[in-house]
Symmetry: C2
DNA sequence: ATGCCTGCAAAAGATTTGCATTTCA
DNA sequence: TGAAATGCAAATCTTTTGCAGGCAT
């Protein structure tokens, strides 16, 4: 389900942050970029650049060109609206909303693609500690657990086991 | 430093495993594929397909073609000789030796690229536990911590702070 | 001999860039 | 008005695929 270009208080706060960054960088506040931002904020789940462009075209923005979306991605990331989602070999880069959400990592079913978001404070602390042990100051991390979800395990067990 | 096409007992065991898989699949045991495997096994750190092809060409295999390397990657993975390394957005896919090494995750310096391999049993257990909580049977994971290493932090602190 | 393997070139897919035009401040 | 933003097409880059000839069984 794609929330598309719906609004919410959080979205407005996110857009303010984008506008702020735009001002700070002495860029211009374009309509198209705002539409892209709204669309990204409203997208449920992970999206590719093409996904965004497609939804925007469907939603009335006739010529939402992928190149334009590509060009706005770095800014949206810098403003903290979106973040890259972990991608395996050969997979197209996907992004997800970052603003207004608690930090989380992913659990993906390798059979059906089911995506679960989890958050473990213990895990976060442990990571910080590991980084510290090596003298690193942690900035970010890429973390995705891959396996089979319960339904797929069951299906598999029924046919193969 | 690239160990290139050096040998070791472990490498021989790895190659046996590759030959075994080749036999099982009723493929043929080609010279070129073995060279590629040796080169991958001997490569220190992470490598792209191009990296392998380049080293092979330099090492005497005149026409080690990237396409050929690409074609052998899945087999090397299936045989457990190599595994994909986590890649961020826009980064070319890299691989690393998997055979004969303990499992480990990565700590990368975002300034200088320094790569540290770490292993934390606690972390592994925690991941298993998280997966179990969601009914998942864990198969693999992608885990990379990103930050600034001590030297870069120091350099940064000196100039900017 | 048969069929996999290889090199090469062309294709495909994702992302970037150059350029003319439009939009914003 | 001048700089930034946009759409479009072309260029890049990485990875895949089709084909003709080479190599292993």
């Amino acid at each position: 389900m794609v929330r598309a270009e719906q609004n919410s208080d959080d979205d407005e706060r996110a857009l303010s942050r984008l506008r702020e960054l735009v001002r700070k960088k002495e860029l211009k506040n374009s309509q198209v970029r705002e539409r892209i931002a709204r669309c990204a904020l409203g997208y449920e789940g992970h999206f590719t650049v093409e996904d965004l462009a497609r939804v925007l075209r469907a939603g009335g923005l006739r010529n939402a060109h992928p190149a334009t979306v590509y060009r706005s991605i770095p800014l949206l990331m810098e403003a903290g609206l979106i973040q890259p989602a972990p991608a395996g070999p050969g997979e197209t880069q996907r992004y997800e909303r970052a603003f207004g959400r608690d930090h989380h990592d992913h659990l993906v079913c390798t059979r059906c693609g089911q995506l679960v978001e989890f958050h473990s404070p213990t895990l976060e602390l442990l990571q910080e500690e590991i980084a510290k042990n090596y003298g690193f100051c942690l900035e970010s991390h890429l973390h995705e657990l891959r396996g089979t979800c319960s339904s797929c395990s069951r299906a598999d067990g029924a046919s193969a086991g």
